[in-house]
């Protein structure tokens, strides 16, 4: 079998596995999030935490809980990182600077996992476990909780209540993320991922040279890193590192894990609103966009257009021998279509057009299928916009899932859509206007612009992957990207919960002859079209100056 065909089969088996798992996982998540019984351990958590688990919260209250909890998370992680040198690690770790600690805290709490540090020499085991891994769970859970609150907005009527954030958070962590992580962490250890608390050991190599081997609780972090679409690597090389991704089938499992929850949530959505056809329509849009994107990516990488790839004869720069080009391209697509940002190969060295597709994936707003939860609420916002646009065309008040989309609802949806492009484009423009920041680029010319554009796109969309050549551990980049990650995460959440609140208050309008059926192929096509057109119109000029200029030159 040729390398490309093997890659296509690899992709096919992934799709098959996701099709098989999305129903049971989606239904399970729906059961967990609609159930009325608390587990004993959960009751204990609520008691010690001092939260009222039976209070149904208004959207304002739900939002305040999300924001306070996340703010406390950022602050706690910041202080923790600033103090990490005192924790008695197996080896001496330096203190992390103020700007880098802020950047890292913002990054992990927003599910971005942008890393301006290199794990093996900037962080100790305690900071990795107690500081970062915790936020890998919590930030993923917050995303899912907000998505579920929006789904409740559609599912409920004539109420101002959207559920209880603390209960959602606790159940998602303890009943969904933790059990799956435990199972996969053990499988990963079996494959050769390390899981120890050893000192760094310097050994004498075969030729008499010396090599220092790190240790660390890697496997436990790896499982949630993918499952929670976090993506922050234990080591600098992330999932390209043989101890974070030892073999070809862990590579398959990692891609599967980072897509599993996001592709299952539409099923949860369909189940919760009592119309599974609606969930199927949403997942069809996600799948179509994803397959289109991975097809383009595989094409670009295996055709290896460009000067260096032609000289090499293959796009192997920055890829591992065991994965090869196609399986690396599939990982890269998965990680940028979700908000993961883990990498098993280095995007900066991708072909120009391959790199452009990765940028586009993130610019889509990560809705195909997107990050845990954030992909779900992202595509529902786009569905609202689509129904609105369709309504304008035929001159009717638009309605989606029995809810009228009036001025208030459309305003929230529009604000959501405007936030990220504004952050990306203004941020990139600022960086390019300042000579010092521009100098941080490793590559020159249009590839340099791609590096900066990629950084801001990655931060604003909470992805966390990078065209890693750019030097971002400066006070300016750490601070600005940190602020952008926070705004890119929490402004949209404000608008989503605001929308959820105003939807829940309405009483449902019965479907009439003029109602646009949102479970049919027509709507699937329209939603896909709107998603692509919105992105194309927003980002085309920036893309034209960066990767397109490079690829066409």
């Amino acid at each position: 079998m040729s390398s490309t065909w093997a890659g296509i089969v690899f992709l096919g088996t992934l799709i098959l596995a996701l099709v098989l798992v999305h129903k049971p996982l989606g239904d399970y998540m729906a059961r967990v999030l609609t159930g009325t019984r608390h587990l004993r351990v959960e009751k204990a958590v609520y008691k010690v935490g001092g939260v009222d688990a039976d209070a149904d919260q208004t959207w304002g209250r739900y939002l305040r809980s999300v924001l306070t909890f996340s703010a406390v998370g950022v602050l706690f992680l910041y202080v923790f990182l600033r103090l990490q040198q005192h924790f008695g690690h197996p080896y001496a770790v330096p203190q992390m600077s103020r700007s880098q600690s802020f950047n890292t805290a913002a990054s992990f709490v927003t599910n971005t996992n942008w890393q301006s540090y290199s794990g093996e020499n900037a962080l100790g085991y305690v900071a990795q476990m107690v500081g970062l891994a915790v936020q890998n769970f919590l930030s993923a859970a917050v995303g899912i909780a907000v998505a579920i609150a929006l789904v409740r907005g559609f599912a409920r009527s004539k109420t101002d209540r959207l559920g209880n954030f603390w209960v959602d958070l606790t159940r998602i962590c303890l009943r969904i993320l933790l059990p799956i992580s435990i199972v996969f962490a053990i499988i990963f250890v079996g494959a050769g991922m390390i899981e120890n608390l050893h000192h760094y050991a310097t050994i004498t190599t075969v030729t008499g040279g010396s090599q220092t081997l790190p240790g660390g609780p890697v496997a436990s972090q790896e499982a949630i890193k993918e499952l929670g679409t976090n993506g922050g690597g234990f080591f600098n090389a992330n999932s390209a590192h043989p101890w974070e991704n030892p073999t070809v089938w862990t590579n398959w499992l990692e891609i599967f894990l980072l897509l599993a929850i996001s592709f299952s949530l539409p099923r949860t959505f369909g189940t919760m609103i009592g119309d599974r056809r609606q969930g199927r329509a949403i997942v069809a849009v996600m799948a179509m966009l994803a397959i289109l994107s991975v097809g383009l990516q595989l094409g670009a990488q295996t055709a290896h257009h460009g000067t260096v790839p032609t000289a090499v004869g293959s796009a192997t720069e920055g890829t591992e021998a065991r994965f090869g080009v196609p399986d690396s391209a599939i990982f890269a697509t998965g990680t940028t279509l979700t908000s993961t940002g883990a990498v098993n190969s280095f995007h900066d060295s991708y072909t120009s057009l391959g790199g452009a597709v990765l940028l586009l994936n993130m610019m889509l707003g990560e809705v195909a299928p997107g990050g845990t939860g954030s992909g779900m609420y992202g595509i529902l916002i786009l569905a609202v916009i689509t129904v609105f646009v369709a309504g304008l065309m035929v001159g009717r008040t638009p309605e989606y899932l029995g809810k009228k989309l009036g001025g208030r609802e459309v305003k929230f949806a529009s604000l959501y859509l405007l936030t990220t492009p504004l952050l990306v484009l203004v941020g990139t423009a600022l960086a390019m206007a300042l000579p010092g920041e521009r100098a941080g680029m490793l590559n020159s010319g249009s590839h340099g612009l791609s590096e900066v554009l990629y950084a801001f796109t990655s931060a604003a969309n909470n992805n966390g992957s990078a065209f890693a050549g750019i030097s971002v551990n400066t006070v300016w980049y750490n601070t600005v990207l940190g602020v952008i990650m926070l705004l890119g995460r929490f402004l949209p959440i404000v608008f989503v919960l605001g929308l959820a609140g105003s939807l829940a208050r309405q009483k449902p309008v019965p479907a009439s002859e003029g109602t646009l059926p949102t479970h049919r192929l027509l709507f699937v096509g329209m939603l896909t079209g709107v998603t692509l057109i919105v992105v194309a119109l927003t980002y085309f000029p920036a893309l034209a100056l960066g990767p397109l200029a490079e690829g066409l030159h």
Binding site: A6, F10, V45, V48, G49, S65, T68, F69, A71, V72, S118, A133, V134, L138, L169, C173, L178, V189, G190, I194, E195, N196, I203, T204, T205, Q211, T212, L213, S220, N236, A237, A240, H241, P242, W243, V248, W249, N251, W252, G306, T307, V308, T310, A311, G313, S314, E317, G318, A321, R322, G324, D327, V343, F346, D348, S349, H447, G469, E550, H553
Partner: protein
């Protein structure tokens, strides 16, 4: 009164958030990783959790999963060993600095070495690195090291073409082979009738149009792709079977054994695609070299 209530509520909210965070920190940040670490102590898992270390004569010489260099102190390949891929991790295969090169597909223009600084190598573009490695490896194993877009002396074949008019229009006034400097010979003598000059350190070629020249090297060069490109981690433990095959004869000769003996060992450590479709065929370099030392020890002449 309402202000008091709001303040009190905010405080309650903050306190609850902090308590919940601490509970989750204990459960997810302490108990969970320690549980996995404890489970990893089970025989069968433990050796893997500890890093899949390889021992020779009771001493650890490396990890099966972490590549290492098989070069002398100057970085030249030791011919008795199979060579790993190029590495961008620190000075090469440094696990405390895992990294890719992060150089882009159009990284083709070098910064030339400063002749006034002794030993300065300038800053090589990715293209020149690829060309240089291909040439060296080709020489080492007696095959053609040429590649598309590479000069015969192993740097990127790239011209800066200057035009009389703006926008790269009008007559060509000057052509420079920007990655080559004295005492090299330009890889082509003329370009569209204009004599090609050599690059000089410190000269600004930004006004010229950058033109990479394909040349007539074969599209599928004799030196395999993985041999001339750095991996993502810089710690890649494996090479392609094609790169292993290229090295067999030289290794066998240096060790004074037959090529088929070495080829048999390579075959032993060669892995195909898992389940026939996952990943790529590959050979673990450290395992292979350790086995070579055991079966066919190398004695210095």
């Amino acid at each position: 009164m309402t202000l008091m209530r709001t303040l009190l509520n905010s405080f309650r909210q903050l306190a609850a958030s902090l308590r919940m965070l601490l509970i989750f920190t204990v459960v997810l940040g302490v108990a969970y990783p320690l549980l996995i670490t404890a489970i990893a102590q089970v025989p069968g898992l433990k050796s893997r959790a500890d890093g899949s270390l390889i021992k020779v004569g009771g001493k650890v010489v490396g990890s099966k999963l972490i590549g290492q260099s098989f070069t002398d102190a100057n970085g030249a390949a030791l011919p008795q060993y199979f060579q790993s891929r190029p590495s961008a991790a620190g000075a090469g295969y440094d696990p405390t600095a895992s990294s890719a090169s992060n150089l882009g597909p159009e990284s083709i223009v070098d910064t030339l070495p400063d002749p006034s600084v002794k030993g300065d190598t300038g800053k090589q573009s990715l293209l020149t690195q690829v060309c240089g490695r291909s040439l060296t490896i080709g020489k080492l194993y007696g095959v053609d090291g040429s590649r598309p877009f590479c000069t015969p002396d192993g740097v990127g074949a790239v011209l800066a073409v200057f035009y009389a008019g703006p926008g790269y229009h009008g007559a060509i006034t000057r052509v420079v082979s920007i990655n080559q400097s004295s005492p090299a010979a330009p890889f082509i003598s003329t370009y569209k009738g204009v004599t090609v000059q050599l690059g000089k350190f410190g000269e600004d070629y930004a006004k010229g149009k950058v033109v990479p020249v394909r040349g007539n090297a074969p599209a599928h060069p004799a030196v395999p792709a993985d041999a001339v490109t750095a991996s993502g981690s810089g710690l890649d433990p494996e090479i392609s079977p094609a790169y292993a095959k290229l090295q067999e004869t030289s290794v066998a000769k240096t060790r004074g054994v037959t090529v088929s003996q070495v080829a048999a060992l390579v075959a032993k450590y060669e892995k195909g695609r898992d389940l026939g479709f996952m990943g790529e065929p590959r050979v673990n370099v450290l395992q292979l070299n350790v086995a070579l030392d055991k079966d066919y020890p190398f004695t210095k002449k």
